[in-house]
């Protein structure tokens, strides 16, 4: 029995711009389960970035109910929300957002600073995490001494060093060439499979989205479709696909975190087998708690 990592019920977000209300999200309901691999796809302006900010606790909804890691965001103060982000969410951004003039290992260790971990232990954990993303030999390098792919891998290590339950990746390959981007996606998918961290990837690229088992299409502030695919689609088969018309797709209930949990019935690609927790058991709170 697992608890949902993130649960959104009829969540909306409206911006006030010069007295005019601009709705970015207009009532979205979805559940992200432990260990899931979800792609959120939509054109720019669809509200997918707003959705990602809400799911990551960077922003608060103006309507509806949003529960992250079992805690209702509406009840949290700003410092509590920050702590929640630190403990449950890892972010990977399109622009990497590494601190310049700061070594790879210190960049990775940054989230641990706000968790009060001592300097030595921070470095040890950061170095170990960099080893897991294949950058064990680049610990002391600064971002400007690393390639784009390496920088994004440092950012991935930073996102995972805290053992989060959800990894939110916002166009993680947007600034990379396709070969490097593929490598980064493979790394993300491997970490998702190994450590059981849920991977939520926001993208406008159908090829990237096609790699995920579950695909959520967002348009005009609403979820247009939320489908789970039996087998991941190959993006390179020259056959452009619209997600909502994907043949093997089956609709999925927005609040479907109940007994009919999908990860059991789809070939076990992201199932419980093969999970390698990063440390302890935090990656699988259902089992640890």
């Amino acid at each position: 029995m697992t608890v949902a990592a993130i649960e959104a019920v009829d969540v909306s977000r409206t911006y006030e711009l010069d007295g005019v209300s601009v709705p970015a999200l207009r009532g979205v309901s979805l559940t992200i389960d432990q260990g899931e691999y979800v792609a959120v796809i939509g054109p720019s302006g669809s509200g997918k970035s707003t959705l990602m900010h809400l799911l990551g606790g960077l922003d608060r909804p103006t309507g509806g109910r949003l529960v992250i890691g079992g805690r209702d965001v509406a009840t949290l103060t700003a410092p509590e929300l920050a702590t929640l982000r630190n403990e449950t969410i890892g972010f990977v951004f399109q622009a990497f957002h590494l601190l310049p003039r700061t070594s790879a290992v210190d960049n990775v260790a940054l989230p641990l600073v706000y968790r009060g971990v001592g300097a030595r232990q921070r470095r040890e954990r950061a170095a170990a995490m960099l080893g897991r993303v294949g950058l064990g030999h680049r610990l002391g390098h600064r971002p400007n001494q690393l390639s784009g792919g390496e920088q994004q891998r440092v950012a991935i290590a930073r996102a995972l060093v805290t053992d989060p339950t959800v990894l939110l990746a916002d166009e993680p390959t947007g600034n990379l060439d396709s070969a490097t981007g593929d490598a980064v996606l493979e790394l993300l998918e491997r970490l998702n499979a190994e450590s059981g961290v849920a991977l939520v990837m926001v993208t406008h690229d159908p090829e990237v989205a096609a790699r995920a088992r579950r695909r959520i299409a967002v348009r005009d502030g609403l979820i247009r479709s939320d489908t789970v695919h039996d087998r991941p689609l190959s993006g390179g088969d020259g056959r452009p696909e619209t997600l909502d018309a994907a043949p093997s797709a089956e609709p999925r209930s927005a609040s479907g975190s109940g007994p009919g949990h999908p990860s059991g019935g789809f070939g076990g690609a992201t199932g419980a087998t093969g999970r390698l927790p990063l440390s302890g058991g935090q990656s699988a709170p259902g089992g640890a708690g």
């Binding site: 900010h53 960077l58 922003d59 920050a82 957002h97 700061t102 940054l110 600073v113």
Partner: protein, 394 residues
């Protein structure tokens, strides 16, 4: 976030923008250095004046017409030598009573001349004020009684008029009248930029004749001991008031002079420190300004830190520490410069300077406080930044 960590982050941020940090600190450095330097000069001057007033001789009582008070107009002296005799009777010992009548005059010897202060005095002057001679002899009672045209030169005057000759026995012309040099004072040095060796003593009777007057400017009395000073002063003032009912007289002690001078110098030091403090304030505004720039420049960094779990307070403390570090390092540098400057001024210029610990502590405390006061607004702004907006910033 731990405090040590926050310090490290703040230091890194300053190091990343060395030039900007240094220029920002410069405002604080100049402010603190000038506070330290000016307070040192004020304190040094006060100490030196005190030394010199005390060095005039002990248990001294100065009797002058008018009130000794800041802001009162000088009074024309009604005193003459008969009053001096009367004061001597009150004191009971003429050897403890000195007089002066002073005026600026040009002293000439051969082709050389020197504008100096000529003082008409009694033979008692060296024992009332502690004065010693380097060469020759001082005035005698006979010199005074017969208005003899003899003169004792201050060291500067002797040097100016007789740079390569022994002045003893030479002639000097004071206001067109010739005097014979009979002695030269031991040098006293400078005080408050005034050359205390720039004076010529002649018999008071000769001076009165020179300027065509019967008056004297003031009387000085050396009391036998400290306990009698105030009572003696009252008796002298009573006697003089009886003789000159229209004039008010004051008898002041060294302590009173020190008090008045101390007040004046204290006010002066305060004003100087306040002006320097304003420059420190301007430096603080510079810190505030640069911190706002820094917050704006590092908006994305703030957004990222918030995304990975920094609380508003963590960010605020980070930027506040950065500001405090700027002003503290600036403050320490300014202190070092101020102390160095004060030592230099004291060593190479006639202006005295004395470092006081309280001024250093104050300057450093104020600079750190400036960092806090002027860092709070940028720090709060940084802490309140919306992470979504901050991450999107360019």
């Amino acid at each position: 976030m731990r405090v040590a960590e926050a310090w490290r982050v703040a230091l890194d941020a300053l190091r990343a923008n060395r030039m900007r940090s240094a220029l920002t600190m410069l405002g604080v450095i100049i402010g603190v250095a000038s506070v330290v330097l000016l307070v040192a000069i004020g304190t040094g001057t006060k100490q030196k004046v005190e030394q010199q007033v005390e060095g005039l001789g002990s248990n001294l009582l100065l009797v002058v017409p008018g009130k000794l008070d800041v802001g009162t107009a000088p009074v024309v002296s009604p005193l003459d030598l008969k009053d001096v005799d009367a004061v001597s009777r009150v004191v009971g010992d003429p050897g403890r009573v000195a007089v002066t009548i002073a005026s600026g005059a040009t002293a000439r010897a051969g082709t050389r001349s020197d504008f100096t202060t000529v003082q008409g005095v009694l033979e008692t002057t060296p024992s009332v004020f502690t004065r010693t001679l380097a060469r020759g002899r001082y005035l005698t009672g006979a010199d005074v009684d017969t208005s003899r045209r003899v003169a004792v030169l201050g060291a500067s005057v002797a040097r100016a008029l007789f740079p390569d000759r022994d002045p003893l026995g030479q002639q000097v012309t004071l206001a067109g009248v010739r005097f014979r040099v009979i002695g030269v004072f031991t040098p006293l040095g400078q005080s408050l930029g005034v050359d205390r060796d720039d004076e010529v003593h002649i018999p008071v009777t000769a001076a009165q004749r020179l300027w065509g007057t019967q008056r004297i400017d003031g009387i000085a009395v050396k009391a036998p001991d400290r306990e009698q000073i105030d009572q003696l002063g009252e008796r002298i003032v009573a006697e003089l008031s009886r003789r000159h009912p229209d004039t008010e007289f004051s008898a002041v002690t060294q302590q009173q002079i020190l008090g008045v001078l101390g007040d004046i110098l204290g006010v002066l030091t305060g004003v100087l420190a306040a002006i320097a403090g304003i420059s420190l304030l301007v430096g603080g505004v510079g810190v505030s300004n640069i911190m706002l720039v820094s917050v704006r420049e590092r908006t994305r960094e703030i957004g990222l830190r918030k995304a990975v779990g920094a609380r508003p307070r963590d960010i605020g403390v980070q930027f506040l520490l950065e500001a405090v570090l700027l002003t503290s390092i600036g403050g320490l540098t300014g202190m070092a410069l101020g102390v160095g400057g004060a030592l230099l001024v004291d060593a190479v210029s006639p202006i005295p300077a004395a470092i006081t610990w309280w001024s250093l502590a104050l300057a450093f405390g104020v600079s750190a406080a400036v960092g806090i006061v002027f860092g709070v607004v940028p720090a709060q702004r940084a802490g309140r930044l919306d992470p979504v907006v901050a991450l999107r910033a360019e």
